[in-house]
Protein backbone atom coordinates (compact mmCIF):
# COMPACT_ATOMS: atom_id res chain seq x y z
CA UNK A 1 0.00 0.00 0.00
CA UNK A 2 1.43 3.32 -1.07
CA UNK A 3 1.38 6.38 1.19
CA UNK A 4 0.17 8.45 -1.76
CA UNK A 5 0.05 8.92 -5.47
CA UNK A 6 0.81 11.69 -7.96
CA UNK A 7 -1.61 13.01 -10.51
CA UNK A 8 -3.08 15.81 -12.54
CA UNK A 9 -6.26 17.75 -11.96
CA UNK A 10 -8.82 17.06 -14.69
CA UNK A 11 -11.76 19.21 -13.66
CA UNK A 12 -14.85 19.42 -11.53
CA UNK A 13 -18.42 18.19 -11.82
CA UNK A 14 -21.06 16.88 -9.45
CA UNK A 15 -22.49 13.44 -8.78
CA UNK A 16 -25.48 12.07 -6.94
CA UNK A 17 -25.02 9.79 -3.98
CA UNK A 18 -27.24 6.71 -3.70
CA UNK A 19 -29.36 8.59 -1.14
CA UNK A 20 -29.94 11.38 -3.67
CA UNK A 21 -27.52 13.90 -2.21
CA UNK A 22 -25.48 15.97 -4.66
CA UNK A 23 -21.73 15.96 -4.08
CA UNK A 24 -19.29 18.37 -5.76
CA UNK A 25 -16.33 16.36 -7.00
CA UNK A 26 -12.94 16.90 -8.58
CA UNK A 27 -11.55 14.37 -11.02
CA UNK A 28 -7.86 13.60 -10.78
CA UNK A 29 -5.86 11.59 -13.25
CA UNK A 30 -3.81 9.72 -10.69
CA UNK A 31 -0.95 7.56 -11.70
CA UNK A 32 0.29 5.27 -12.94
CA UNK A 33 3.32 6.06 -10.80
CA UNK A 34 6.59 4.27 -10.38
CA UNK A 35 8.75 4.08 -7.30
CA UNK A 36 11.87 5.84 -8.52
CA UNK A 37 13.89 5.61 -5.36
CA UNK A 38 13.52 3.96 -2.01
CA UNK A 39 15.24 6.00 0.68
CA UNK A 40 16.22 4.20 3.83
CA UNK A 41 17.57 5.38 7.20
CA UNK A 42 20.77 3.46 6.56
CA UNK A 43 21.68 5.21 3.31
CA UNK A 44 19.76 8.50 3.37
CA UNK A 45 19.09 9.13 7.04
CA UNK A 46 15.35 8.84 6.71
CA UNK A 47 12.68 6.53 5.39
CA UNK A 48 10.82 7.57 2.23
CA UNK A 49 9.69 6.55 -1.22
CA UNK A 50 10.19 8.77 -4.23
CA UNK A 51 7.39 8.43 -6.75
CA UNK A 52 7.41 9.57 -10.36
CA UNK A 53 4.28 10.20 -12.40
CA UNK A 54 4.50 8.12 -15.57
CA UNK A 55 3.22 10.07 -18.54
CA UNK A 56 4.24 10.95 -22.03
CA UNK A 57 7.31 13.19 -21.82
CA UNK A 58 9.64 13.88 -24.73
CA UNK A 59 12.96 12.28 -23.79
CA UNK A 60 14.83 15.54 -24.39
CA UNK A 61 12.66 17.30 -21.83
CA UNK A 62 14.31 15.24 -19.11
CA UNK A 63 17.94 16.10 -18.62
CA UNK A 64 20.64 13.46 -18.52
CA UNK A 65 21.15 13.28 -14.75
CA UNK A 66 17.40 12.83 -14.25
CA UNK A 67 17.27 10.21 -17.00
CA UNK A 68 20.04 8.32 -15.26
CA UNK A 69 18.21 8.62 -11.95
CA UNK A 70 15.07 7.11 -13.49
CA UNK A 71 17.05 4.43 -15.25
CA UNK A 72 18.32 3.14 -11.92
CA UNK A 73 14.75 2.16 -11.10
CA UNK A 74 14.17 0.86 -14.60
CA UNK A 75 11.69 3.60 -15.47
CA UNK A 76 11.46 6.46 -17.92
CA UNK A 77 9.06 9.23 -18.88
CA UNK A 78 8.59 10.88 -15.49
CA UNK A 79 9.26 14.54 -14.86
CA UNK A 80 7.06 15.04 -11.81
CA UNK A 81 8.76 13.39 -8.83
CA UNK A 82 7.76 13.65 -5.18
CA UNK A 83 8.80 11.97 -1.99
CA UNK A 84 6.57 10.51 0.67
CA UNK A 85 7.99 10.04 4.16
CA UNK A 86 7.39 6.60 5.57
CA UNK A 87 8.67 7.07 9.10
CA UNK A 88 6.76 10.04 10.51
CA UNK A 89 3.34 8.88 11.58
CA UNK A 90 2.91 6.40 8.77
CA UNK A 91 2.60 2.72 9.45
CA UNK A 92 5.43 0.70 8.03
CA UNK A 93 4.94 0.45 4.30
CA UNK A 94 8.30 -1.01 3.54
CA UNK A 95 6.97 -3.38 0.92
CA UNK A 96 7.57 -0.82 -1.85
CA UNK A 97 10.73 -1.28 -3.91
CA UNK A 98 12.30 0.86 -6.60
CA UNK A 99 10.61 0.08 -9.90
CA UNK A 100 7.29 -0.89 -8.33
CA UNK A 101 4.12 0.57 -9.83
CA UNK A 102 1.60 2.55 -7.82
CA UNK A 103 -1.90 2.62 -9.26
CA UNK A 104 -5.23 4.15 -8.26
CA UNK A 105 -6.43 0.69 -7.31
CA UNK A 106 -4.44 1.28 -4.11
CA UNK A 107 -7.22 3.63 -3.01
CA UNK A 108 -10.72 2.65 -1.99
CA UNK A 109 -13.99 4.53 -1.98
CA UNK A 110 -14.56 6.31 1.35
CA UNK A 111 -10.81 6.59 2.06
CA UNK A 112 -9.69 10.04 3.17
CA UNK A 113 -6.87 11.81 1.35
CA UNK A 114 -5.03 15.12 1.50
CA UNK A 115 -4.46 16.81 -1.84
CA UNK A 116 -1.50 19.14 -2.31
CA UNK A 117 -1.27 21.47 -5.27
CA UNK A 118 -0.13 24.89 -6.36
CA UNK A 119 -2.93 27.45 -6.28
CA UNK A 120 -3.83 29.68 -9.21
CA UNK A 121 -1.65 32.79 -9.32
CA UNK A 122 -3.54 36.05 -8.78
CA UNK A 123 -0.60 38.40 -9.36
CA UNK A 124 -0.34 41.53 -7.23
CA UNK A 125 -3.69 41.50 -5.47
CA UNK A 126 -5.21 44.30 -3.45
CA UNK A 127 -6.24 44.03 0.13
CA UNK A 128 -9.91 43.32 -0.65
CA UNK A 129 -9.17 40.21 -2.70
CA UNK A 130 -6.13 39.09 -0.72
CA UNK A 131 -7.28 39.56 2.86
CA UNK A 132 -11.04 39.83 2.43
CA UNK A 133 -11.16 43.44 3.59
CA UNK A 134 -14.60 44.97 3.26
CA UNK A 135 -13.51 48.01 1.30
CA UNK A 136 -15.33 51.30 1.39
CA UNK A 137 -18.59 52.51 -0.05
CA UNK A 138 -18.73 52.93 -3.82
CA UNK A 139 -20.95 56.02 -3.96
CA UNK A 140 -22.51 58.74 -1.77
CA UNK A 141 -19.36 60.81 -2.08
CA UNK A 142 -17.16 58.05 -0.68
CA UNK A 143 -13.52 58.50 -1.52
CA UNK A 144 -12.54 55.19 0.05
CA UNK A 145 -13.20 52.30 -2.35
CA UNK A 146 -10.74 49.39 -2.26
CA UNK A 147 -7.96 51.08 -0.32
CA UNK A 148 -6.58 49.41 2.84
CA UNK A 149 -7.27 52.39 5.15
CA UNK A 150 -5.15 53.15 8.17
CA UNK A 151 -2.13 50.94 8.70
CA UNK A 152 -1.22 52.24 12.14
CA UNK A 153 -0.83 55.27 14.42
CA UNK A 154 1.48 58.26 13.97
CA UNK A 155 4.38 59.29 16.21
CA UNK A 156 3.89 56.22 18.31
CA UNK A 157 5.01 53.68 17.23
CA UNK A 158 6.34 55.58 14.21
CA UNK A 159 6.47 52.42 12.19
CA UNK A 160 4.17 49.80 10.72
CA UNK A 161 3.82 46.76 12.94
CA UNK A 162 5.15 43.55 11.34
CA UNK A 163 2.53 41.30 9.79
CA UNK A 164 0.26 44.18 8.76
CA UNK A 165 -2.03 42.84 6.04
CA UNK A 166 -1.44 44.68 2.79
CA UNK A 167 -1.67 44.14 -0.95
CA UNK A 168 0.90 41.91 -2.58
CA UNK A 169 1.45 38.70 -4.46
CA UNK A 170 -1.37 36.21 -4.08
CA UNK A 171 -1.71 32.60 -5.16
CA UNK A 172 0.83 30.43 -6.98
CA UNK A 173 1.81 28.87 -3.67
CA UNK A 174 1.52 25.37 -2.28
CA UNK A 175 -1.86 24.64 -0.75
CA UNK A 176 -2.95 21.48 1.05
CA UNK A 177 -6.58 20.49 1.28
CA UNK A 178 -7.05 17.93 4.02
CA UNK A 179 -9.40 15.01 4.44
CA UNK A 180 -11.12 14.83 1.10
CA UNK A 181 -13.31 11.78 0.73
CA UNK A 182 -12.79 9.49 -2.23
CA UNK A 183 -16.09 9.16 -4.05
CA UNK A 184 -15.10 6.93 -6.92
CA UNK A 185 -12.08 5.08 -8.29
CA UNK A 186 -11.81 4.28 -11.99
CA UNK A 187 -9.01 1.76 -12.40
CA UNK A 188 -9.48 1.60 -16.16
CA UNK A 189 -8.71 5.27 -16.84
CA UNK A 190 -6.69 5.84 -13.65
CA UNK A 191 -9.17 8.41 -12.43
CA UNK A 192 -9.61 9.28 -8.77
CA UNK A 193 -12.76 11.17 -7.84
CA UNK A 194 -12.50 13.20 -4.63
CA UNK A 195 -15.13 15.24 -2.88
CA UNK A 196 -14.70 19.01 -3.00
CA UNK A 197 -12.26 21.38 -4.62
CA UNK A 198 -8.53 20.97 -5.21
CA UNK A 199 -6.02 23.84 -5.56
CA UNK A 200 -4.71 24.85 -8.97
CA UNK A 201 -5.96 25.09 -12.53
CA UNK A 202 -7.11 22.08 -14.55
CA UNK A 203 -4.13 20.15 -15.83
CA UNK A 204 -1.86 21.08 -12.92
CA UNK A 205 0.11 18.53 -10.96
CA UNK A 206 -1.19 17.41 -7.58
CA UNK A 207 0.07 15.15 -4.83
CA UNK A 208 -2.51 12.84 -3.28
CA UNK A 209 -1.52 11.66 0.18
CA UNK A 210 -3.38 9.41 2.56
CA UNK A 211 -4.96 11.68 5.15
CA UNK A 212 -2.71 12.29 8.13
CA UNK A 213 -5.57 12.92 10.51
Amino acid sequence: MSPGILGKKIGMTQVFRPDGQVVPVTLLKAGPCAVVQRKTPATDGYDAVQLGLLEFVKPKRINKPATGHLKKAGTEGAKFLKEFRLDKGYPSQGDLKAGDQVLVSDFKVKDKVDVIGVSKGRGFAGVVKRHKFGGGEDSHGSMHHRAPGSIGASSFPSRVVPGMRMGGHMGNEQVTVRNLEIIDVDTEDNVLVVKGAVPGPNGSYVVVRRAKR
Binding site: I10, G11, T13, Q14, V15, F16, P18, G20, V22, L27, K29, D186, D189, V191, V193, N202
Partner: protein, 116 residues
Protein backbone atom coordinates in the same frame (compact mmCIF):
# COMPACT_ATOMS: atom_id res chain seq x y z
CA UNK B 1 -15.79 21.22 -20.70
CA UNK B 2 -13.46 19.86 -23.31
CA UNK B 3 -11.59 17.30 -21.33
CA UNK B 4 -12.17 13.82 -22.70
CA UNK B 5 -11.82 12.11 -19.32
CA UNK B 6 -14.25 14.52 -17.72
CA UNK B 7 -16.77 13.97 -20.51
CA UNK B 8 -16.33 10.23 -20.22
CA UNK B 9 -17.00 10.34 -16.50
CA UNK B 10 -20.09 12.48 -17.04
CA UNK B 11 -21.41 10.11 -19.70
CA UNK B 12 -20.85 7.17 -17.40
CA UNK B 13 -22.78 8.71 -14.53
CA UNK B 14 -25.56 10.23 -16.59
CA UNK B 15 -29.07 8.79 -16.39
CA UNK B 16 -29.99 7.13 -19.63
CA UNK B 17 -33.50 5.92 -18.88
CA UNK B 18 -35.19 9.32 -19.32
CA UNK B 19 -36.43 10.46 -22.75
CA UNK B 20 -33.75 12.40 -24.56
CA UNK B 21 -35.95 14.12 -27.10
CA UNK B 22 -37.69 16.51 -24.69
CA UNK B 23 -37.60 20.11 -25.82
CA UNK B 24 -38.68 23.33 -24.24
CA UNK B 25 -42.33 23.96 -25.00
CA UNK B 26 -43.31 20.33 -24.58
CA UNK B 27 -45.99 19.45 -22.06
CA UNK B 28 -44.64 16.68 -19.89
CA UNK B 29 -45.63 14.62 -16.89
CA UNK B 30 -42.85 14.13 -14.38
CA UNK B 31 -43.35 11.26 -11.95
CA UNK B 32 -41.53 12.13 -8.75
CA UNK B 33 -40.66 9.67 -6.02
CA UNK B 34 -42.03 10.78 -2.67
CA UNK B 35 -41.00 9.17 0.59
CA UNK B 36 -43.65 8.89 3.30
CA UNK B 37 -42.19 7.22 6.33
CA UNK B 38 -40.62 4.12 4.91
CA UNK B 39 -43.02 3.86 1.98
CA UNK B 40 -42.43 5.36 -1.40
CA UNK B 41 -45.06 6.54 -3.85
CA UNK B 42 -45.13 8.45 -7.11
CA UNK B 43 -46.56 11.90 -7.61
CA UNK B 44 -47.06 13.38 -11.05
CA UNK B 45 -46.30 16.97 -11.94
CA UNK B 46 -47.74 17.91 -15.32
CA UNK B 47 -46.88 21.14 -17.05
CA UNK B 48 -44.96 22.91 -19.77
CA UNK B 49 -41.21 22.53 -19.83
CA UNK B 50 -40.08 26.14 -20.03
CA UNK B 51 -36.32 25.82 -19.61
CA UNK B 52 -33.47 23.39 -19.70
CA UNK B 53 -30.52 24.52 -17.59
CA UNK B 54 -26.86 23.58 -17.25
CA UNK B 55 -25.12 20.71 -18.88
CA UNK B 56 -23.30 17.71 -17.57
CA UNK B 57 -24.46 16.05 -14.39
CA UNK B 58 -26.10 19.20 -13.05
CA UNK B 59 -28.56 19.38 -15.93
CA UNK B 60 -32.09 20.34 -14.91
CA UNK B 61 -35.44 21.26 -16.39
CA UNK B 62 -38.02 23.78 -15.22
CA UNK B 63 -41.66 22.74 -15.50
CA UNK B 64 -44.50 25.24 -15.14
CA UNK B 65 -48.15 24.55 -14.52
CA UNK B 66 -51.19 26.50 -13.39
CA UNK B 67 -52.51 25.09 -10.15
CA UNK B 68 -55.84 26.48 -8.89
CA UNK B 69 -55.17 29.74 -10.69
CA UNK B 70 -51.61 30.12 -9.47
CA UNK B 71 -48.55 29.52 -11.55
CA UNK B 72 -46.29 26.86 -10.03
CA UNK B 73 -42.82 26.01 -11.25
CA UNK B 74 -40.63 23.12 -10.24
CA UNK B 75 -37.03 22.52 -11.13
CA UNK B 76 -36.01 18.88 -11.58
CA UNK B 77 -32.39 17.70 -11.74
CA UNK B 78 -32.25 15.25 -14.63
CA UNK B 79 -29.49 13.10 -13.21
CA UNK B 80 -30.79 12.76 -9.68
CA UNK B 81 -32.80 9.87 -8.39
CA UNK B 82 -35.94 11.75 -7.45
CA UNK B 83 -37.51 11.39 -10.91
CA UNK B 84 -39.00 7.97 -11.59
CA UNK B 85 -39.94 8.59 -15.19
CA UNK B 86 -41.14 11.32 -17.55
CA UNK B 87 -44.04 11.04 -19.99
CA UNK B 88 -44.43 13.27 -23.00
CA UNK B 89 -48.01 14.52 -23.03
CA UNK B 90 -47.94 16.93 -25.96
CA UNK B 91 -45.25 18.55 -28.04
CA UNK B 92 -45.11 22.32 -28.31
CA UNK B 93 -43.46 24.60 -30.81
CA UNK B 94 -41.16 27.09 -29.14
CA UNK B 95 -39.01 29.62 -30.98
CA UNK B 96 -36.66 30.22 -28.09
CA UNK B 97 -34.78 28.13 -25.55
CA UNK B 98 -36.25 29.69 -22.40
CA UNK B 99 -39.97 30.34 -22.29
CA UNK B 100 -39.93 32.72 -19.35
CA UNK B 101 -42.35 34.98 -21.23
CA UNK B 102 -45.09 32.45 -20.41
CA UNK B 103 -44.99 33.72 -16.82
CA UNK B 104 -46.54 36.98 -17.95
CA UNK B 105 -49.29 35.31 -19.94
CA UNK B 106 -52.35 33.38 -18.86
CA UNK B 107 -55.27 31.47 -20.29
CA UNK B 108 -55.51 31.32 -24.08
CA UNK B 109 -52.44 33.50 -24.59
CA UNK B 110 -50.21 31.03 -22.77
CA UNK B 111 -50.82 28.20 -25.23
CA UNK B 112 -48.23 26.75 -27.57
CA UNK B 113 -48.88 25.22 -30.98
CA UNK B 114 -48.19 21.53 -31.43
CA UNK B 115 -44.89 20.71 -33.09
CA UNK B 116 -45.23 19.03 -36.44
Amino acid sequence: MQNALLMKYIEKNRRTDLPTTLRTGDTIKVHVKIKEGDKERLQAFEGVMIARNNSGLGESITVRKISFGHGVERIFPLNGKMIDHIDLVRTGRARRAKLYYLRGLKGKAARLKERT
